[in-house]
């Protein structure tokens, strides 16, 4: 580019002609400016700005409910924004449907895969982009899929049924679909949620290869570790607003955490060494049929001592849910024995187990934990109504229950107008605190905690974690099941790895080799006979 400037040549002022190298403007693949989206009762996006450069991996970091998914659904044309402007490769766009977004070169790998289980890999990939004509040339499509797969090193059988594939491969199919549609901007929504550590490594390799091939990747996550591992830049959103964009290499986990949460947060759970006492809960050789005739629990044995937190690690669907539900008394196992202290509780119903000192924080507080339209007092009665001081099996002492509820709300910091408030009116964090209050009130010998912090904000997570550690320190046995591996690692004194309904390995909480843990979770034995199997 030629530029004229007025300057001094010798003693004369004259026009100077200079050849100027054009400074390459950072090419923006995606710009979202001032995006606002309201849903009835909630503002999901209250003015979000996001600028993603071409050819970078850009992390979008925020807590659950910060508005990340809404923003991406807007970008993909699934939701229409109330206000705001979207530019793709510098062009102002307005998407009416996902089709428009796909045509503009955007593709999304959803958190809950948008794959049809009964369809083959090829059918899933070509759906919506079947090519010209009224009929499908299956063979040609399969060849093209195989070719695209080979190009990016994403090995997958184009004829396999998606439902027969492991989760990591299913995700690969989703990525392949986006590539097949020739999208140059890939959006991945919490892509590591269901993967084993090895599968995560594979995913990182694929994403790096895509970036090196000039594609743009937007990586949605709430995990700081992932931001550091994979992204070039990161944009943090909090409560529907952009709070900052950073170059990943120039920032720290602490800074990002503070941006994400709004205040300094301790990243590690503070806890002292455990002092395990005698055995509090034992299960021997539990067997239970799952759906489809396969054993969901296949001769599983474990034990939890007083004063220790035992975490169960595993990929979802390996019998975790069946295990805790069997321990809680929701299912009776086909064979095996469960001992609470010295008592055999294998055939006891849930109420009997509570009476004997077993407490249970269920996985889904809306379906299992609470009756949302009931008041807090009534919710306090769930599972307790036949046990004094709440009742005697014939009558319920409401006055007493309300008194206890009021007291527990104080002690467990449940913020609500009063015990007569309906549980549905509380925030997720306060609902969870209410459940924890109810479950700990009885000073149980053993606490089963399933996904105790699911969907909670960081403040509530801290509270729940410190509470669980406090219960351990009071000498209770805690069995923790969380699908967030970081939570399991942070909290547990001992980690048991579950795979296909069996415990396949055990780690002490202090020294965990993540790679080894990942291999075990994936069903592989890392180093022959070195793995300690519990009995």
């Amino acid at each position: 580019m030629v530029v004229l400037t007025r300057g001094r040549v010798g003693r004369r002022v004259a026009w100077i002609v200079t050849e100027q190298v054009e400074v390459p403007q950072p090419q923006m693949a995606v710009e979202m400016l001032g995006i606002v989206k309201r849903f009835p009762g909630v503002v999901a996006n209250a003015g979000v700005d996001l600028s993603v450069e071409r050819g970078e991996i850009h992390a979008l970091l925020g807590e659950n409910g910060a508005g990340k998914s809404t923003l991406m659904n807007i970008l993909m044309g699934l939701i229409h924004p109330d206000h705001g402007k979207i530019l793709v490769h510098g062009r102002d766009v307005r998407f009416h449907s996902p089709r428009d977004a796909v045509d503009a070169g955007l593709g999304m790998v959803h958190q809950h895969f948008m794959l049809i289980p009964r369809f083959s890999v090829t059918e899933n990939i070509i759906l919506g982009s079947e090519g010209p004509g009224a009929f499908i040339d299956r063979q040609a499509a399969e060849e093209r899929v195989a070719q695209t797969a080979a190009e990016y090193g994403l090995v997958v059988d184009p004829r396999a049924r998606v439902e027969d594939l492991p989760v990591g491969i299913q995700q690969r199919v989703e990525i392949l679909r986006v590539l097949y549609q020739d999208s140059n901007i890939l959006i991945l929504d919490e892509p590591t949620a269901l993967l084993t550590p090895q599968e995560v490594e594979d995913l990182y390799r694929v994403l790096n290869a895509l970036r090196d091939a000039g594609r743009t990747v937007i990586f949605i996550t709430h995990k700081l570790r992932e931001v550091a591992a994979i992204s070039d830049r990161v944009t943090v959103i909090r409560r529907g607003m952009t709070v900052g964009t950073r170059v990943t290499a120039d920032t720290t986990a602490a800074e990002l955490a503070e941006l994400m949460v709004g205040r300094g947060v301790s990243l590690r759970v503070d806890r002292t060494r455990a002092h395990p006492g005698e055995v509090a809960l034992q299960a021997f050789d539990l067997t239970m049929k799952g759906r489809g005739g396969v054993n969901a629990l296949d001769g599983l044995s474990l034990s939890v001592r007083k004063g220790e937190i035992v975490g169960i690690a595993g990929v979802e669907g390996n019998g975790q849910t069946e295990l805790v539900e069997t321990l809680a008394g929701l299912h009776i196992p086909e064979s095996g024995t469960i001992l609470l202290g010295e008592m055999d509780i294998t055939r006891d119903d849930p109420v009997e187990r509570r009476r004997k000192g077993l407490s249970y924080i269920p996985e889904d507080r809306h379906h299992r934990g609470l009756v949302l339209p009931f008041s807090l007092t009534e919710n306090m009665l769930l599972g307790n109504s036949e046990i004094p001081p709440f009742g005697d099996g014939r009558r319920i002492d409401y006055a007493k229950t309300e008194e206890i509820t009021r007291e527990l709300m104080e002690r467990f910091d449940v913020r609500a107008p009063g015990p007569e408030t309906s549980a549905g009116a509380l925030s997720g964090g306060n609902q969870q605190k209410l459940i924890i209050a109810r479950e700990l009130f009885r000073e149980p010998a053993v606490l089963l905690a399933v996904q105790p912090t699911r969907g909670l904000d960081v403040g509530a997570i801290e509270f729940v974690h410190s509470r669980i550690v406090a219960e351990r320190d009071k000498g209770r046995g805690v069995l923790l099941l969380s699908f967030d591996l970081d939570e399991t690692l942070d909290l547990s004194d001992r980690i048991l790895v579950i795979y296909h309904g069996k415990i396949v390995g055990e780690f002490s909480g202090e020294r965990v080799d993540r790679a080894e843990l990942g291999l075990l979770m994936g069903g592989r034995v890392p180093h022959g006979d070195r793995v300690g199997i519990t009995t």
């Binding site: 959803h110 948008m114 794959l115 049809i116 289980p117 009964r118 059918e123 759906l127 919506g128 009929f135």
Partner: protein
């Protein structure tokens, strides 16, 4: 021995074909609707309105082929009501289907009264031609529909998209498929098919319309779809099984094999219940049946 050979004669075979024809038509319609994800218990009512419209069309236009066309259009439009309620307004598809069934039953009786001032039955009209003795032209057409529906689902672009809507409407929508539009189309096609089934009952065999003449065949067709695991040829086999039971019952009555007529009459219905209750456990409905894509 002679008795048994005598029992299974050509008449029985033709009777099976005749009994299967309305079931096959209606079941193919139901299959398309359900594969797109919309439950369709309105088949019975759609069939009834088609049967009636065929008579009315033939009566006024003096040609059963025009009568058939009228029936198909009326069937499609009646199904549009079901589509609008269940897709556009997202009302409960069972309730909507029941409403269509009641509407068809009431409206046909009312219109017979208004048009011919008769109660419960229409005058006889001209019928569609037979292609062989006691085999109406609609019979081969019905059976031809099965490979067409099969080929549509298996090999056409539209068919793949329809099945995607039925299995996972959110996924279909996320790749830019207009789920509602396809479902509207398939529900209307189910009305067209069900109307053909109804037209067969009037201008394909009896020559007139009587109140509630479908006698549960729409529900049996739906049972055949479930029994046939939502697959065209499986559904065809189920239709033939149910039709066989009906034909057997008629043959048994005419030949007099000494079983109570009431029991024989119940046979096809009993078979349907057994099929639905027992055998169906292995079959698998479209995963997105009755579900809507994103709620906005």
């Amino acid at each position: 021995m002679d008795g048994i050979i005598d029992f299974f004669d050509l008449n029985l075979f033709k009777a099976v074909l005749r009994m299967a024809t309305p079931l096959v038509f209606a079941a193919m319609g139901g299959l398309l609707s359900e594969r797109s994800g919309i439950m369709n218990i309105a088949l019975e009512g759609l069939m009834l309105s088609g049967a009636f419209a065929a008579v009315v069309g033939t009566y006024y236009l003096h040609n059963p082929w025009w009568g058939l066309l009228v029936a198909l259009i009326v069937g499609g439009l009646t199904a549009l009501i079901h589509a609008f309620w269940s897709i556009g307004l997202r009302s409960d598809q069972i309730v909507t289907g029941t409403a269509i069934n009641l509407l068809a039953a009431g409206t046909t009786v009312f219109l017979i009264q208004r048009i011919w001032a008769q109660s419960g039955r229409t005058p006889t009209v001209q019928k569609l031609p037979d292609v062989a003795a006691q085999v109406n032209v609609l019979v081969p057409i019905a059976f031809l529909c099965v490979p067409i529906v099969y080929f549509f689902l298996k090999s056409s672009k539209l068919g793949l998209r329809v099945m995607a809507c039925g299995e996972h409407p959110q996924a279909a929508e996320s790749v830019g498929i207009n789920v509602s539009l396809l479902r509207y189309g398939m529900v209307m096609m189910s009305g067209v098919f069900a109307a053909a089934a109804g037209a067969f009952l009037t201008i394909g065999s009896l020559g007139l319309f009587t109140r509630d003449m479908t006698a549960g065949r729409g529900f049996i067709a739906l049972a055949a779809v479930i029994f046939g695991n939502w697959m065209p040829f499986g559904t065809l086999a189920a239709c033939i099984l149910f039709a066989g039971a009906q034909a057997f019952q008629i043959q048994a009555q005419t030949k007099g094999i000494g079983i109570s007529a009431d029991l024989l009459l119940a046979l096809p219905y009993v078979l349907t219940i057994i099929a639905i209750a027992g055998v169906v456990r292995g079959s698998r409905a479209p995963a997105g049946l009755g579900q809507h894509p994103t709620p906005n």
